[in-house]
């Protein structure tokens, strides 16, 4: 897997400006949409009280079934994310007009901590199928989707925009139809980056699926059978043994997922990489080898290929008309701008009606204060995690044999939903009566610290051997070596890891700052617990206010701090 980790993609797409009109429009549209959903959910709240509750059992023998259902949810969401990616990103890349708004929207959505918003989406989806579990299932799948789709779409958009000119010209010159071009050129070209982002998405996805299976909406608790709800029940019953079983199950599930889905995928997409530098070891997968030899899989592959060719035949290439059609373009430009204008106006209206009217200025200021506390927490945690993991990562990365063992473990840990481990920590806090404001904080970074580790390992492993020989031969050692060689060398990688860790920590704050153990509630002061409390109380104004302000903080931090740092590191310290 270490091959994969060295292949990196910029976390910001192509957005380099601080903020543009389009960013502002995108922010208003996204937050307005959230406010609208919150509003709508409030009206739909009533019919939920009669939701049939599936009885859950802590008997470990049920775990395989629960794990299967959790996994299915995950797969369904991944499928939806894939469809979203192929359509949204394609639209954004092909239409210059649409892209101006769609890309910033994606960037904002990436920063919206949707976790606190799950209850609202539940209510919304359940209203589509009142009183049925199906609605809740849709809600859960949607929640997982929101944790996976944005970076996948971003990566595909980036790929579409960076197709090598000659390949694109070849497709054009051999007169491929747009449909054929999409399946024969654009999708294959985007696949390697897409698969890598799918893997990253899965890590966030497991976290979400666990958090979204047991959700309290006001007085109702929605329970979807799965590993997440199993562990929620275990917490309620204060059953440490059951928690142990759940953790073991999840480890196994992720291992199987990795071996049966992602390893084969990674090995398979290696063929689609355009740059073919010699020497790089091909990723291996026993499962892929098996599948390649299996007749069933071969038949499926041939069928897919035939479908692509058959549909390519069905969709004809229409040669461009002689260029004289300027009039209609102006008109559709106008239409588009007015549509965007309307969406922004609607967004503002919902913001005013849904949030600002329902809250007061002191409340908003109070929430900003809480956000500052959470921000302080995130920064301190990132700093602490860096102090620990950067030296270790460098040490490991410079030793290929150690890295071969540690790197997959670090990536595995990043994929493991850290919230499954919370109960153990909570148990400790409750038993030893520790101060929650301090001791709950590490939970925020429990799952995301690994991004720092495995990125630093990849960075250290990528240090050119000649550079290392040179430093050795000049006798550069100790602190000087760290200052002049190791730290600058891994900086671009470290920053990528820290950005991911920081973003994940904000999201995790919403489940880490407020935790329960049986009927004991442990709470740390911060924006995360504010949102969690609001969700439990079913107070939609406060949810939207909290989520909105958190988005604002995350976006501002990205634009003012992480993004400049990222480009600085890329420009100054990139070794190529």
């Amino acid at each position: 897997m270490s091959e994969v980790a060295t292949r990196r993609f910029g976390p910001f797409g192509f957005l380099r400006d601080l903020a543009s009109r389009w960013d502002l429009a995108a922010f208003v549209v996204v937050i307005g949409l959230i406010a609208f959903l919150g509003e709508a959910a409030r009206g739909l709240f009533v019919p939920l009280s009669q939701l049939e509750v599936t009885p859950m059992s802590l008997d470990p023998s049920h775990l395989p079934e629960y794990a299967a259902r959790t996994t299915l949810r995950m797969l369904a969401a991944l499928g939806v994310s894939l469809i979203f990616t192929l359509t949204y990103a394609t639209w954004a890349a092909k239409s210059e007009r649409a892209g101006k708004l769609l890309v910033p929207i994606l960037d904002i959505l990436q920063s919206v901590p949707i976790l606190g918003f799950i209850s609202v989406t539940y209510v919304f989806f359940m209203s589509l199928a009142p009183g049925r579990v199906l609605g809740a299932e849709f809600g859960a799948i949607f929640a997982i989707f929101t944790s996976q789709a944005w970076n996948m779409a971003f990566s595909f958009y980036q790929s579409l925009r960076t197709i090598p000119t000659e390949l694109s010209e070849a497709a054009e010159s051999f007169r491929l139809s747009p449909w054929m071009r999409f399946w024969q050129l654009e999708v294959p070209f985007g696949l390697p980056a897409l698969v890598w982002n799918m893997m990253m998405s899965m890590s966030g996805g497991w976290f979400f699926v666990v958090a979204s299976e047991s959700i309290s909406v006001g007085r109702t608790t929605v329970v979807l059978p799965g590993v997440g709800s199993y562990i929620a029940l275990a917490i309620e019953k204060r059953n440490l043994a059951a928690i142990g079983w759940a953790i073991a199950t999840m480890l196994l599930v992720i291992l199987i997922y990795d071996q049966l889905l992602f390893r084969p995928l990674v090995a398979w997409v290696d063929r689609f990489r355009v740059e073919q530098e010699p020497g790089a070891r091909e990723p291996q997968s026993w499962a892929l080898t098996m599948m390649r030899r299996s007749r069933l899989i071969q038949a499926a592959k041939l069928a897919f290929h035939a479908a692509v060719l058959w549909t390519s035949r069905a969709v004809k290439r229409s040669d461009p008309p002689p260029p004289d059609a300027v009039g209609p373009k102006r008109r559709s430009d106008l239409l588009w701008v007015s549509l965007v204008g309307a969406a922004v106006a609607l967004g503002i209206w919902h913001l005013v009606a849904g949030v600002i009217a329902g809250t007061s200025l002191p409340e908003a200021l109070h929430v900003c204060g809480l956000a500052l506390i959470t921000m302080l927490r995130v920064f301190i945690l990132i700093a602490l995690a860096s102090l620990i993991w950067v030296p270790i990562g460098v040490w490991v990365g410079l030793r290929p044999r150690v890295a071969q063992i540690v790197q997959p473990v670090a990536q595995f840990m990043a994929a493991f939903p850290a919230n499954l481990l919370f109960p153990i920590a909570i148990y400790g806090i409750v038993v030893w009566r520790l101060k929650p404001d301090i001791w709950l904080s590490p939970l925020m970074i429990l799952g995301t610290q690994w991004y720092i580790l495995f990125n630093v390992i990849a960075g250290a492993a990528a240090l050119p051997a000649e550079l290392r020989y040179a430093t050795a031969s000049f006798g550069i050692k100790g602190w000087l070596w760290w200052r002049k060689v190791a730290l600058p060398g891994v900086l671009p990688y470290y920053v990528t890891g820290a950005i991911t860790a920081s973003g994940g920590s904000w999201n995790a704050a919403q489940v880490a700052e407020l935790v329960t153990w049986g009927h004991t509630k442990v709470e740390a002061k911060g924006l995360g617990s504010y949102i969690a409390n609001a969700a439990t109380a079913g107070s939609f104004h406060r949810i939207v206010l909290g989520v909105g302000i958190m988005s604002l903080f995350v976006v501002a931090l990205n634009r003012l701090f992480w993004r400049p740092l990222y480009y600085y590191a890329e420009r100054k310290y990139r070794l190529t």
Binding site: E166, E169, F174, S312
Partner: protein
């Protein structure tokens, strides 16, 4: 004149790209070209002379700003069915096998399956790829990859084959084999094509392959002259008449632009002002060529084809250095010869410090941009100036990318001459010496 039918005709083609400031960047002007059946026409020039742009206009991959292209008498909008292209870096789809790569052009034409198979296998066979049908491009050597590029183009049975420096990404031996194979197929009439347009910056390749060679000049791209190659195939590089043609093309390409042609243009070298684009040629390359010309057997006066082959430099590499020497008045470039000036000879003999002094004198005397930067720094009390100030000035004359490259070149020269210093972290020019 031959009376073969005309496959393709370009009339008064012009291509310009809009600049951010509202002006336009002219890359191709007054271009006229005819391709007769049975001919290979070569477009020979250095990078930036617009020859690849012309090829893309003909391929229908770009639209001309003015002028007409007609193929078999019909105007071209977009890629035409009877024109296929071979790319410099092959442009194969890495996820398709050799067979699939070849078949894709026919798939796009929605031809019956059996027909696709028959024609694809025939093309693979013709081009010598038999046995490689199920290989992926990554498994092939560069030469085999380009063979796939040829098969893919031939399989659609085009009338015209466009080749964009098809051998320049290959090593010398592979390129030679592929060229010979291609010429054999062509002269035996085994390929379904009727005419070829070849873009190249390799003079010998052009003479080896073409019936007519159009020599391109830069800024904007235009045809300097047309040379007919009457030698019988197969041609021999050592043949005196072959060498004569090489010499003649070198002379054409080093000819000073005539007065009328240069009016109103941003000429690249002689008589330049602040707004001329500077080439990315390091002082070390300049010193290297000066030393080579100063040394025997040239003793200060080198024949370009000779020194080019001695140093194994193609015109794309040799000309920029030679022209930089001319601009710096270290050498004269005319009639296919490079002749050192007195200062050029002195530079070649000097030690490092003396070289820096000579370089500084010439830099400030003959590169107005360097002189300008130095003057600004001298006049200011702080002896420093922001880079953006000079970028803005340059962008009145050239594109953003050219301005960036020009400044990069002048920074490199200024640093070597110790005429001024530049700090990239805060993008400031100054007169400080590093502490």
């Amino acid at each position: 004149m031959s009376s073969a039918p005309i496959l393709l005709k370009c009339t008064d083609l012009r291509k310009a790209f809009p600049k951010p400031d509202g002006g336009e960047l002219l890359v191709l002007d007054g271009m006229n070209l005819e391709l007769e059946e049975g001919q290979i026409v070569g477009l020979l020039g250095r990078s930036g002379s617009g020859k690849s742009t012309l090829l893309r206009l003909i391929a229908g991959l770009a639209e001309p700003s003015a002028g007409r292209i007609s193929y078999l008498g019909q105007p071209i909008f977009g890629p035409a069915a009877g024109i296929a292209m071979v790319f410099q870096s092959f442009a194969l789809f890495p996820w398709l096998t050799v067979y699939e790569n070849v078949a894709i052009g026919l798939e796009a034409q929605r031809m019956p399956k059996a027909e696709i198979r028959k024609r694809s296998l025939a093309a693979i066979d013709l081009i010598g790829l038999d046995g490689f049908e199920s290989a992926y491009p990554r498994e092939l050597s560069g030469g085999m990859r380009q063979r796939v590029g040829f098969a893919r183009a031939l399989v659609v049975h085009p009338n015209i084959l466009l080749m964009d420096e098809p051998f320049s990404a290959l090593d010398v031996l592979t390129a030679e084999t592929l060229r010979t194979d291609f010429l054999d197929l062509w002269s035996e009439g085994r390929m379904p094509i009727k005419g070829v347009i070849l873009v190249t910056h390799n003079i010998e390749e052009a003479i080896l392959m073409c019936d007519r060679i159009l020599v391109f000049g830069s800024n904007p791209g235009r045809i300097l002259s047309e040379i007919k190659v009457g030698l019988p195939q197969p041609r021999n590089r050592l043949d005196p008449s072959f060498r004569e043609l090489v010499e003649r093309i070198y002379v054409e390409m080093t000819a000073r632009p005539t007065g009328t042609a240069a009016v109103g243009r941003q000429e690249r070298f002689p008589g330049l002002g602040i707004g001329s684009i500077l080439p990315q040629v390091s002082p070390n390359s300049q010193a290297g060529l000066l030393e080579a010309v100063a040394a025997p057997p040239f003793n200060g006066n080198a024949d370009l084809p000779k020194i080019g082959s001695d140093l194994q430099m193609e015109i794309d590499e040799l000309f920029p250095v030679a022209e930089t020497l001319q601009m710096m008045r270290f050498a004269e470039l005319e009639g296919g010869d490079l002749k050192l000036t007195d200062d050029g000879k002195a530079f070649a003999q000097a030690d490092l410090d003396e070289r820096k002094r000579i370089f500084m004198r010439h830099l400030l005397a003959y590169v107005p941009l360097a002189a300008h930067i130095r003057r600004v720094l001298d006049e200011r009390a702080s002896h420093s100036a922001r880079k953006s100030r000079f970028v803005d000035e340059l962008e009145d004359f050239m594109s953003e990318a050219d301005a960036e490259n020009t400044l990069r070149a002048v920074v490199q020269w200024g640093r070597y001459a110790e005429a001024f210093a530049y700090n990239d972290a805060n993008e400031i020019f100054n007169l400080e010496n590093p502490t």
